[in-house]
Amino acid sequence: MAEPVLEIRNLRKSFGALKATDDVSLDLKAGEIHALIGPNGAGKSTLIHQIAGSLKPDSGEIRFEGRDVKPLDMAARARLGMGRTFQVSSLAPEFSALRNVMLAVQARAGSSFRFFKPVMRDGSLTEPAREALARVGLSDRANVPAAELSHGERRQLEIAIALALGARAFLLDEPMAGMGPEGSQALTAFLDGLREEAPILLIEHDMDAVFALADRISVLVYGRIVATGTVEEIRNHPAVREAYLGDGA
């Protein structure tokens, strides 16, 4: 079996007495969607922050495509191919949707130290950006400033940015949050195909989406992974039913 794209070993992070990440080990294999579920405050976003580099773990290992990424900052990890979306959308609000995606295309192309060529007339930036917008269904909103997009559209835009980055793994922090049922269904279908391109670590509260998409599920409770397994295994896991799904699930 090939080595996992993303490998986390014995990761720990405390805020004072609170163990936000308590000896977490998990991995993400090529071609899979690995969902991370757990009640609010379980430390899911904290974990993503540490993987993406916006938060420093106290101890443990994070390897991305075989490489130790702990010494790298967020920008360097993004350049390696971590395509991350935020729980609360994080965009350049004055820039249009298109320009937000173009920024990712530009970053992927390598140099931001070009001072003279206007970006809007640079087909090598605008074309890939338009393609990424088209893939998430935002083509007709390309020229709208990010600040004026609806909540759901901003989530889509974040995914378009991760696509344009040419991500080698996606870290999606509640991509369905705030979307209507139709939006969620469309996004579920889209993510289903996306795993062929790059594996997805998916944090999501929408259980229909999780059960429809996940190849494996890990359950995080109080910073600890209490179970990892297939959808069936997790559905029937007694500790999980008690801690998270409730007995009626």
Binding site: R79, S90, N100, M102, Q106, A107, V119, D122
Partner: protein
Amino acid sequence: MTRETAISILFVLALLAAPFAAQAMGEPFYITLATRIAILALAATGLNIALGLGGLVSFGHAAFFGIGGYAAGILVTHAFNGEPLLGGLPGTNQMIVIWITGALVAGLVAALIGLISLRTSGVYFIMITLAFAQMIYYFAISWPAYGGEDGLSIYVRNAFPGVNTLAPMSFFLICFVLLAAGLVLFALIRASRFGAALQAGRQNETRLAAVGIGPFRIRLVAFVLSAMVTAVAGALFADLNRFVSPSMFSWHMSGELIVLIILGGVGRLAGPLAGAVVYVLFEFALGGVTEHWQLFLGLILLAVVLFARGGVMGLVAGRARHG
């Protein structure tokens, strides 16, 4: 062409026309006023790269303005006295050499200041840039070789090949061309990849890092470019007044540059020019009536901040658009 570009070009042409009109009406004094506007607009255009595009509120740009001024004063003093500079290099009265020297020294100093200050943000960044500028200010005051508190006089305005720089109109045209070049540079940077990263960093630093662009290096380069442009304006300012003094380094000067940008429109192409027009005309019209003219300027600034956030450019060209 966008509406903003059209209005910006209109402003620039109006500035060009003003001294000719003044000359035709036999009021050559106004040529000097237009020259002052052009120089301050260039200095603020430099700051507009850091502040307007990058959101870096430098409260220490007087340092770079003053370095440009002192580059002119020191080089020409050595040329005048026939003494070599440190390291045996000769002085010069050639403007082009002075501009390049001023810009390079300012760029170097900005790189050092930026390396430290850009690790902070917000009010800390403002205070650190202010602190560095004040250090240079007190250094200039306590440096007797170059006039200390009294500053340096430039007895004959520096030379430009093929131009009689003593003629007010010729000197205005030199300043005008440099302002135009500064505005073109600003427009190019704003539309470029570098400008995209710089502006994205102002709007959302996390987003910039999340696509893999480290904000620090982008900002450092912007800060250095910004300082270099402001330094060239400082050299022109020294030549306009034929005098340099430590007051060019003072925090009033840094504040004035920020005020120009806020009056004209933060991050707007012609914002610094519009701001400089308002500022200089106000100073001229009210300065003759009362020495407390800045009180009225303060009221205008208050009105702009409260009711017209986009400044003059916001009023005439509408909100900024980012393609």
